[in-house]
Structure formats: C-alpha cells, structure tokens
C-alpha cells in the first residue's frame, strides 16, 4: 500500500478538503446559534445570520444617526492609514539600519546590541509612555506599531544581508565597486524582495499593536469600534468587524506577494531552484 505521506488529493478533492473546515465551522455556529435563540430569542451571544445582515447594513451602508458618517468605512480608513504609515516607516528604517548593520562593521558595533535590546522591550508595556510623550493623537498609535515591529524587521534584514554569499561581495569589489556602489547595486536590490517578505510576516503583529492602541485611546478605527460595542455585547457587530479585518489582512498579504512576484521574478525563480 502507498504510504500516506506519498498520497496526494486530486485537484477537486483538494478544493473540497480546503473548504470543508470552513463549512463545518459555519454549520456548528448556525446550529449553536439556533439552539440558543430557540431558548431565548433576545440572546446576544450567538446572533443569527439575519442580525448580522442588519448590523452590516447599519454599519456600512447607512449613515450613523449621531454623526451622519458611514461608520465601517470611516473606521476602515482610519485604521488602514495608521497601519500603512506605521508599517511603511518601519520598513524604511529597517532597510536602512538592517543593511548598515549587515554591511558596515563600524555601524554594526554600536547599533546591533542596541537593536537587540530594544527588540526585547515588550511594546505594550511602553504604550502608556507613548501616550504621555506623544499625546493621544495619531502619532502615538503609529509609534506603537513602529516600536513594535521595527526591531524585528531590522534583525531580519540584518540576517538576510549577512546571508548574501560572500562570493558576490568579493566579486563586486574585484569589479571596482566602492562600498557605496556595492550596497546600492548589489545589496539593496537583492534585499527588496526580502523586505517584502519581512513586511508580510510582521503585518499580523502590526494589526495587533494597532488594535491595542485603538482600543485604549481613539475616536474611530476598527479596533476602537470593536471595543466600543463590546459594552453592549454587540456580537452582531464584533464578528463582522473581525472577519473584515481578517479579509483586509489577507488582501494586503496577497497584494504584497503579487507585487514581489511581478517586480522580482529573479528572486522567485531562485527560490524555486532550491
């Protein structure tokens, strides 16, 4: 008999197997929700599909009675703006310091221990400091994301720089490159696809820090809304918001992957070789 490690599902079977857990989860939810609602029609813990539709309609397609804004879109825009600003700034800093640490021993000597120490500080523990120093505005939320993910990205890019074959660096020097030219033409272009990978891996943490900051001090944003309606046990709003955040995260990740494949075909060809 063929070993189980050597048996492959057919394409259709693969699709069925992939969707099955989701269908099962939905089914379990519907059954549980029905059972609870049969017992107590005003139960709020597991709302019915209909309440979800109504809640989504209310949040996304009707203006809020108090402010006249479409709350879901206002929240989404606010969160996305903070997230992308934070991640963008982090990526730029990480690329700069990561490459400097990887290539220039005199940059690495003072910076590397510092980055290492900073990466061990729990970002949530210094959130109050951020609020005190930067106020309760946008800056402190973006700063939390930056402080949360930059050290990890720097260390990642430093390792990636170290991992470039020594042979390439020697070759570039024999072709007459000075240090700057070598970094600009040989190192940086090879690190860009790796930077995209680092961003993809840290996006989850970035969302975590964003929602934490929004939950504590904010007036709009996806995290803010979830924590606000929690007071009314509004599961019919919280669950769609969570799904929406997941979807946004998925789309961002997918787009980054697509960008990497389009812009750096040589990188993906190289990965395929191994």
């Amino acid at each position: 008999m063929t070993r189980i490690i050597n048996r492959q599902p057919a394409p259709l079977g693969r699709l069925v197997l992939a969707t099955l857990p989701f269908i099962l989860l939905a089914l379990v939810y519907l059954l549980a929700s029905d059972a609870r609602l049969a017992e107590n029609p005003s139960d709020k813990l597991l709302p019915s599909m209909q309440s979800f539709v109504e809640a989504i309609n209310r949040m996304a397609f009707e203006p809020s009675r108090r402010t006249g804004e479409y709350l879901l879109w206002v929240d989404t825009w606010a969160s996305i703006k903070r997230l992308f600003t934070g991640v963008g700034i982090s990526a730029a800093i990480a690329l700069l310091i990561g490459v400097a640490n990887g290539m220039i021993p005199y940059a690495r000597a003072p910076l590397s221990p510092l980055v290492r120490a900073l990466s061990l500080v729990p970002p949530m523990a210094i959130l109050p400091i951020l609020f005190i120093v930067f106020g309760l505005g946008e800056l402190s939320k973006v700063m939390l994301i930056i402080i949360g993910i930059t050290p990890i990205m720097i260390r990642d890019l430093q390792l990636r720089t170290d991992a470039l074959p020594e042979e390439q660096l020697i070759k570039a020097q024999t072709l007459g490159a000075n240090s700057w030219q070598l970094i600009l033409r040989v190192v940086l272009p090879q690190l860009l696809p790796r930077l995209i990978e680092a961003v993809r891996l840290t996006l989850g943490s970035a969302w975590l820090f964003l929602i934490a900051a929004e939950a504590i001090a904010s007036t709009e944003g996806l995290g803010y809304r979830i924590f606000l309606v929690r007071r009314y046990l509004s599961m019919d709003v919280i669950l769609p918001y969570v799904l929406w955040i997941t979807l946004l995260a998925f789309i961002t990740d997918y787009l980054l992957q697509l960008l990497s494949k389009k812009a750096y075909p040589w990188y993906h060809a190289q990965l395929g070789e191994k």
């Binding site: 020697i170 024999t174 030219q181 090879q190």
Partner: protein
Amino acid sequence: MSEIPSIQPIIEARQLWKEYGEQVVLERINLKVMPGEFVSIVGASGCGKTTFLNLLLGTQQATRGELLLDGQALDPEPSPERGIVFQKYSVFPHMTALENVMLADEFAQSALFGRVWGSARKALGKKAMAMLERVGLGHAASRYPSELSGGMQQRLAIAQALMKQPRILLLDEPFGALDPGIRKDMHGLIQQLWQEQQLTIFMITHDLQEGFKLGSRLWVFDKVRHDPQQPERFGAQVTFDLPLASEGAKQAAAEQLQQVSNPTTISKEQQHDLSNAV
C-alpha cells in the same frame, strides 16, 4: 599600467607564511610567476591551496613574507587587478546576463549611482554584448542567471571578470560543479581566452587531469614536514612545481608525479588518470 619589463615576474612570493594562531597553513612559499602563465594548483583538501588563493585575492593577509604583484605589495582587499571566478555565486542573481557584464563599467563611470543611463548606457551595452558573444552567451543576454545552466553561469562569471582586464585571473574550482561534457566545452573556452587575451591565470582544481590539460605549469601543495603529535605545527609548501608548457614537459611531469608515494597528495586513481591524459 606603465610598461613592465618582461623579465619582471607578475606575481612573486617571498618567504610567505600563513598561520592561524598556532596552526601553520602555509610555510616558506617562494615562487615567481611570469605574465602569460597558466598555473594549475592541486593538492589534498585542507592543504592550503584555497588559503593561497585568498592571499592572492586579498581577502586574507600573509602572516609573514611578501606577496608582490608587478613588484608591488598587493592591496589588502579585493581590487580590479585581480579577477575572480568562484565555483558558485559569482554572478548577481538580480541582474540579467548583460547587466552583469556591464556592471564593472558602470561602477567606473558613475561613482554616485553605480549606474548609467541614455547613450552612455547604450555604449556600455554594446561593449558588454561583444564580451557576451565572445563567451558564447550572445543569445542569453536578457536572461537572469537563474534561467541559465551551470555552464552558462560560469561563462557569464568569466565574461564579467574579464571586463576589468585584470592582471591576474583567479579561478577557484570553476568547473567543479559541471557535467563532464560541459566541462570539456569550458576547457576549450578558457584556453581560447587565455591565449587570445594573454591572461595570467591561477586555477585551483580537484581534478589533476584538468590541471594537467589546461595549465602551462602545475603546483602541488603538500606538507613536507609532519609531526604526528602536533599536526598543525607545520604548514604546506609547493612540493612540485612542474612546467607543462610542451608535450615533452607534460610527459616528464607525469612520470615525476607517478613516482610520488604519498597517497594524500595524489591517489593511485589520479596517477592512472594522468597516464591516460598524457
């Protein structure tokens, strides 16, 4: 490059020693190499041939003694007088074949960006294309290294190194990872380039037969003195320095090598290969 009298060696080692702490790797290396020689370097693993190449390349420095290029001490870091082709990783994966070959000229022309545009780029492209055609890669100019076979990548690495017209060309087991058929093609190419461009080449190889076939001179690195209690106490020297320039010389060299009894340097199998080669 000023005019260099032909009697002056291009590379000269004087009482060269290399030690790592207690461990002696190379000792008392005294050699002279004339312009236009093709030196094949063989020896057992760990006998210091790679260390010697690194000294020539400038990635490592001698502990004692002198290593001279055209009578001057070598730069203590890799520089354009010394071209290098490694067994792997000596081309840039993020550039097409043409861009790989253009890079040296781009470095020379633009200190700030390491890149040129417009008509200057066109001119460099033309020059690089001629070099690519010389190594037989004209049809693959726009391909990335990952789309090239192992042999083509080595052709590219050689083309790239030759753009700087280096005084010496260092080959570190350049054909070690290639299939036998491709290897043979590469042998033809490197010999052709050596003669056309009057290169001075140092080639490390595991394959004695290859070293015999290509070189005009053969060095065997090995330890002369052994201390069983302290094997690191003594370093390797060049135990054989054989001219291979003519068929007669090759014959003589092969006979001399076949009398070697030390199996770490040259195995019986290799001796057999050798008699076939000559």
